[in-house]
């Protein structure tokens, strides 16, 4: 009787210690219907683990959107001179830099590739 009690207590102690070091070995994957802007930033900046398709998708979709915006701007007849008329601010300066960098892609695409 005493031996059974001792064994039971020993097992209980081992079980308790084991539970304290428990780690989650499996995680449940769930499908989502949308992806947030914060998730896109996390994927692009690498602050969250993601597969290569996710990284490529974020970059490529962003690239296409930038290309559309640049082309639309050019089609409307606007140039860098129009950007110069923007009020001086960090946003304006970043926009000018982005426009200039996109210009290098569209002016000589064969070199950019």
């Amino acid at each position: 009787m005493m031996l059974k009690l001792v064994s039971l207590l020993a097992l209980l102690a081992l079980f308790t210690i084991g539970c304290s070091n428990e780690t989650r070995l499996t995680s449940v994957q769930r499908q989502v219907k949308s992806i947030s802007a914060e998730d896109v930033i996390r994927i692009a900046s690498g602050s969250i683990s993601a597969n290569s398709i996710a990284k490529e998708t974020a970059r490529h979709v962003g690239g296409q959107l930038l290309a559309i915006a640049y082309t639309r701007y050019q089609t409307a007849g606007c140039t860098s001179q129009d950007l110069e008329r923007l009020p001086d601010s960090a946003f304006s300066e970043n926009l000018r830099r982005l426009y200039a960098d996109l210009g290098t892609v569209f002016e000589q695409p064969e070199k950019a590739k």
């Binding site: 308790t16 304290s20 219907k33 900046s45 969250i48 830099r97």
Partner: protein, 166 residues
């Protein structure tokens, strides 16, 4: 004999209490995998260069290295062109990818701290992107009367052509 049993019982109780104590200690200080904060990735991007003085020569780019569209996009999404442009582009990308999910072009799965995007490989989707939702929104008048009337006209002409061919 009784004293031996008592000693064993006390030892077991001590072991049990020690186990509980260790368990409490581990719960108070759980060992968690290190994770970089969202705003501070492990390899933080270099700070943007100092603003160029605007002159009459037009805009000045970031560097002499010619970047691809995807590289520029990645830089914008990392915030190297400022937080405003980062927020604008990430919002647009999230809308586009969400539409792609809706259209079944891609599927996104989230597990803990991981996000995976996959392209369905069953061959059911030969078209990479179906812009049918744009057409629906044009016909709903979300892009104005001119766009809606143009699509109406185009659809009528298309239907008329189909009838003549058949």
């Amino acid at each position: 004999m009784h004293s031996t049993r008592r000693v064993m019982l006390v030892l077991c109780l001590c072991g049990f209490l020690m186990g509980q104590f260790l368990a409490c200690g581990n719960r108070e200080n759980p060992v968690r995998p290190t994770k970089a904060a969202p705003t501070e990735p492990e390899n933080p991007p270099p700070p943007p260069p100092p603003p160029q003085t605007s002159g009459s020569q037009g805009c000045v780019g970031t560097s002499d290295v010619r970047l691809s569209l995807d590289e520029i996009s990645a830089k914008v999404l990392r915030g190297e062109y400022g937080s405003d442009l980062q927020a604008i582009l990430s919002d647009e990308v999230s809308r586009c990818v969400s539409k792609m999910i809706e259209e079944g072009v891609v599927s996104v799965s989230v597990s803990g701290k991981r996000i995976d995007i996959d392209v369905p490989s069953d061959g059911s989707r030969q078209v990479m992107f179906d812009g049918g939702y744009v057409l629906d929104e044009i016909l709903d008048g979300q892009f104005g009367d001119q766009a809606r009337n143009t699509v109406h006209l185009f659809a009528r002409q298309f239907i008329g052509t189909e009838k003549r061919l058949n």
